[in-house]
Symmetry: none
Subunit: 238 residues, 2 copies
C-alpha cells in the first residue's frame, strides 16, 4: 500500500502556496509572486508552476487579472441550498450591503420561449426586468426576471429601485413567495453581462434558473448569471 | 468565413454551431438564428444550412417548433438534489448502463491540500482514485476521489473495476455512505479531462466537491468534473 511514486512537483508547489495562504503569509487580495519568480524561488520549470497556478485558480485559492498578475482570492459566497433564500437577506446576514440596479424594465409579450416556461399564453404580457445585484458596491450577479403583468398591475421601475422585489410582492400585492425551483448549470459570461459585472467575458459563471411560486402559482421566472469566482452553492444530502 | 475545402460545408457549419452551444453562447432552450440569418452569417446556401440543421436535430443538439423556429435542446441529465444520490443508481433509473473506468489508483500522502479538507494529518495515507464515469459508453464525468487508507485497508483497483464504489464500501467494509455535502461551482474543462471526456478543452463544466460521510465520519472527498453540456442540477426550496 505504500506509494513509491514521487509526488508530482506541481502538487508540492500547490501545497506550499496553500500553506502560505492558510498561514496568511499571502493575504486575501494580495499579489502573489510572478510565475518567473516562483520558478526561481522553488527551482521549478515554468510548466510546473503554471500547472500549480491553474489548479489553485480552479480551487478558488487565487485569481488572475489580465496584465496585473495573480492574487489571493477573497472569500467567496457559499450559498446553502436548504431553504428559500433571497440575495438581499443573504448579503445582510453576512454584513454586506446589498443593492440592486435596475438596468432595464419593460412590459413585453411573453412569446413562445417564456410563455411555454411560465405556462401562460405567448401573447400575455410580462414585465422583463434586468437587474445587477451588488454587495458593498461590487457587482456579483446579472439577473433577468419575467413577471406576469396580470398578477402585479402597476409595477414600476421606481418601486423596484427602492425596495427588494420580494418585499414589493408581499407589501404592495400581498403575494408572498414561498417556494422556488432552481436549476444550476455552468456557463460563460457574455459580453454585455461581463461589462456590468466588471469581469472578462471569458470567465465562467453559474447559470441559475429560478421558478418562484406563491402557493401553487408561478409568479416569477428568473435567469441569473452569478460570477463563478465569487459563488459556490452547497447542498447537504441524506 | 468558413473555407476548409476537404470538410463538407454543412459539417463545418454544424461544428460552429455546436461550439457555440457548448460555450453556451447559444443557451439551452434559446432560439437559434433563422435559416435565412444563418445563410447571411456564414455566406452559405439555404440547402447547406438546412442540412446542418437537420443533422443537429438528429444528434439532439436542437429541436424545432413548427412555426416558431429552432431551439437549443435542454440538458440530458437533470439531477435532483433532494437526497443522497449515486451516479450508478441515477443512470440505472433512467435506463442507461452506467460504467466506470479507473484511470489511476494509488496510495499517497494526503499532504496539506487534501489533509486539511479531510481533517487528517498531511502524512496520513489516502487512496487517490481517478475514474471516468460513462452512461451507455458516453463519457460524462471525470472524478478524483480521496479515501483514507486506514478505513479501507486492502482496497484495490481490481475491486473498484468490478463494483460501484459505495457498494464496495458497504459490502466489503460494512461502511454505508449516509450523508454527503456537495458544493457546486462552474469551471472550464482541462486538457487531460477533455481528452477522456471526448470534448473540447474550452468547454464549461460543473465542478462538484463531495464530502461523503458514514455516520459522522468523513470517508471520501471527491472532485467531479461533470460535462456542462449534459448536466444540470435541480433543487426545490421552501
Amino acid at each position: 500500500m505504500i506509494n513509491n511514486k514521487r509526488i508530482p512537483l506541481y502538487l508540492q508547489l500547490m501545497d506550499k502556496i496553500i500553506e502560505k495562504i492558510n498561514a496568511q503569509e499571502y493575504r486575501e487580495q494580495e499579489k502573489l509572486p510572478s510565475e518567473r519568480e516562483l520558478c526561481d524561488m522553488y527551482g521549478m520549470s515554468r510548466i510546473t508552476v503554471r500547472q500549480a497556478m491553474q489548479e489553485l485558480e480552479r480551487e478558488g485559492y487565487i485569481y488572475k487579472l489580465h496584465g496585473k498578475g495573480t492574487f489571493v482570492a477573497p472569500k467567496s459566497y457559499s450559498q446553502n441550498l436548504v431553504k428559500l433564500y433571497s440575495f438581499t437577506d443573504e448579503m445582510r446576514k453576512i454584513g454586506k450591503i446589498p443593492t440592486s440596479k435596475v438596468l432595464s424594465f419593460e412590459a413585453v409579450e411573453a412569446e413562445e420561449a417564456i410563455g411555454s416556461k411560465m405556462g401562460i399564453h405567448p401573447k400575455e404580457e410580462v414585465y422583463k426586468v434586468v437587474r445587477l445585484r451588488l454587495a458593498d458596491e461590487e457587482p456579483l450577479m446579472y439577473e433577468t426576471s419575467y413577471i406576469p403583468v396580470a398578477k402585479f398591475p402597476g409595477l414600476t421601475q421606481e418601486t423596484l429601485d427602492k425596495q427588494p422585489m420580494y418585499e414589493v410582492f408581499y407589501n404592495d400585492y400581498n403575494i408572498p413567495v414561498n417556494k422556488a425551483v432552481e436549476s444550476f448549470s455552468p456557463t460563460l459570461v457574455r459580453e454585455e453581462e461581463a461589462k456590468h459585472l466588471r469581469i472578462s467575458s471569458k470567465q465562467t459563471a453559474m447559470l441559475i434558473k429560478r421558478y418562484a411560486y406563491s402557493d401553487k402559482q408561478l409568479i416569477e421566472y428568473t435567469i441569473t448569471v452569478a460570477r463563478g469566482d465569487k459563488f459556490e452553492y452547497k447542498v447537504e444530502l441524506t
